[in-house]
Structure formats: structure tokens, C-alpha cells
């Protein structure tokens, strides 16, 4: 989990969820991509956090990867 030094957000968000969301935002949306070699399984997806746009973006990215993968096979 990441070290968060400063967080100022709406009071309804707990820091633990934000830490998780920020981590997922980084690992799912960013980083080196070896074109065509992302292999992730669809089973056991439990990444959805309703109402948090960062996470929605991450899930969309994962789904897009799966779609591209499927269309290439």
C-alpha cells in the first residue's frame, strides 16, 4: 500500500479506500505495456467501487484490455 502524506478530500471518503483506489489507478492505468502481451483473466473481478470515478476509469481500462485481447484471438 502506498504512503500517503497529504490527503484532503470529502469527509465521506475513508483514507483506506483512497489508498486502495490510488494504488489500483496506478497499476491498472499506467506502466510499461508490452503490446499484445497483457493477459488477465476475467474471473473473480472484484474491483468495482460504485461512485468513485477513479476506479470506474480503472475498470474500464481493464475491460478495454480484455476486449482488445479477445478481438486479437
Amino acid at each position: 500500500m502506498s504512503d500517503f502524506d497529504q490527503i484532503v478530500v470529502g469527509e465521506e471518503w475513508e483514507n483506506t479506500d483512497l489508498s486502495l483506489l490510488e494504488t489500483l489507478d496506478h497499476v491498472l492505468n499506467r506502466g510499461l505495456v508490452i503490446a499484445g502481451e497483457i493477459t488477465i483473466a476475467v474471473a473473480d473481478i472484484d474491483l468495482i467501487f460504485v461512485g468513485l470515478n477513479v476506479m470506474v476509469s480503472s475498470v474500464e481500462t481493464a475491460q478495454e484490455v480484455l476486449r482488445k485481447r479477445a478481438s486479437n484471438e
Partner: protein, 237 residues
């Protein structure tokens, strides 16, 4: 058996401890030329929260030793594919490693509370026809959208000015979602982190109308990508 790739790094000859990787598999170093790739031997990587967090933890585990280039979550390859990738992209990877050397990433998300104008419009709409209400609403959306885009650009400029001289690089995304005004990643030299935090804290005090989510230090996820042969694949730009 395939290889799950977490990140690649330079000047890394051993791992500090027996880090546990995806699905509990051990993490090991694969040396390819002068680069080290952190890998685990696995066949399948289900998308779970635990696996995504494990990926982040493994990459983070070497952040004190060096600045790695993280792979995106879900990178599963054969050893030959990994070797081919590194040999064909070696100059670009070395340039990228040099760019992030000695740095970490700090993340700033700015959230803007949207003005609540919809209720007023709805009340007015009761006195108008459905077509007029639709057009008024559409006009409001377009004007509001333009105004928010302009504000996002202004705040992006303001933020850049506030941390000027402290960033080696930046990646800014304006309005990545409805409530997020902007998402910024700053590449900061490790020795400047303290000064960056102080500067950002001062800046935040001057903008009480905005909500900030500042996190880090991170491995440089936002600065890892090299130019791809097919830049639009996977939405990477």
C-alpha cells in the same frame, strides 16, 4: 509456465528479502543484458484486488534501492517474448530509465465541487415546454462544459507554476472524469520531496475552493511508457 513481469530496473543485483508475488509465487530477478526484471513464474493472473495490490507491493519493494520502470498490471509473457521486447526496445528503455533515475512520482488529483444549478433549471422547466426545457438544458451543459474545461486549464497552469523548478517532468490529464478537475503526476527528484510537499501545502492553502488528493511517493508509473509501435493499443497515448 509463463513469467509475470512486475518492473524492470538498472543497477539491481539482488532482492532485499523473499518478496511474495502474484498467487504467492516467489519473486526473482531475471537479468537481461544490464537490466534486471522482477518476475514470478505463473500461468494465470486473475484480476483481483489482491493481485493488483501485490503487483504494486512488489514494485514498491525495490523503490528504496533504485527507480524501476513498472510494467502495467497483468503483463504475462514467455521468457523469449520478454527478451525480445527488451532487446528491440533497449535504447528507449535506457533513455526512460535515465529520465526517471533518482526520482519518484507524486500524484495530485484536484476535485471540484460542481455548482448545483440543475434544481433551479428543473423548477423553471415546469413552466416551459419539453422542447424548450431540453434546449435550455443542452445550452447549459455546453456552456458549463466549456467553462469547466477553461477552469481546468487555468488550474493546471496554476499548479504548474506552484511547483515549478521542483519537477523533472509532469503528466497532466484535464477532466479525466466529471468530478475530477485534473489528475497530475509529477516526477520529483528524491532530494526534493520535502520541498515539494511544503510548496504544495502552501499552494493548497491559497485555493480553499478546491479539494486535493495528494499521494506518493510512487514508482514512476506515469512516466514508464515508451513509444509503442501501435500507440493506440490499450488506449495508451
Amino acid at each position: 509456465m509463463k513469467l509475470y513481469a512486475y518492473c524492470l530496473a538498472e543497477d539491481l543485483n539482488s532482492l532485499n528479502d523473499a518478496t511474495s508475488g502474484i498467487s504467492g509465487a516467489p519473486v526473482r530477478l531475471l537479468k537481461i543484458d544490464n537490466l534486471a526484471v522482477l518476475i514470478s513464474d505463473v500461468d494465470v493472473v486473475p484480476v483481483t484486488r489482491e493481485h493488483a495490490l501485490t503487483h504494486a507491493a512488489v514494485v514498491r519493494s525495490i523503490l528504496d534501492q533504485t527507480t524501476p520502470l513498472p510494467f502495467r498490471f497483468g503483463t504475462l509473457v514467455t521468457e523469449q517474448q520478454l527478451r525480445n521486447y527488451i532487446s528491440t526496445h533497449k535504447p528507449a528503455l535506457e533513455n526512460k530509465l535515465a529520465h526517471v533515475r533518482g526520482c519518484v512520482e507524486m500524484s495530485v488529483k484536484i476535485i471540484w465541487e460542481l455548482p448545483n444549478g440543475k434544481q433551479t433549471d428543473a423548477v423553471n422547466g415546469e413552466r416551459q415546454g419539453a422542447g424548450t426545457t431540453f434546449l435550455v438544458e443542452k445550452r447549459r451543459e455546453i456552456l458549463g462544459d466549456e467553462q469547466r474545461s477553461k477552469q481546468a486549464a487555468e488550474i493546471s497552469d496554476w499548479l504548474r507554476a506552484e511547483v515549478t523548478g521542483l519537477t523533472r517532468d509532469e503528466q497532466i490529464t484535464l477532466r479525466p472524469s466529471e468530478r475530477l478537475l485534473l489528475s497530475a503526476a509529477h516526477l520529483i527528484e528524491r532530494v526534493s520531496i520535502g520541498q515539494y510537499r511544503v510548496q504544495l501545502a502552501k499552494a493548497r492553502k491559497n485555493r480553499p475552493d478546491l479539494h486535493f488528493l495528494v499521494s506518493g511517493p510512487w514508482p514512476p508509473y506515469s512516466f514508464a511508457n515508451i513509444e509503442l509501435e501501435f500507440p493506440t493499443q490499450f488506449g495508451v497515448s
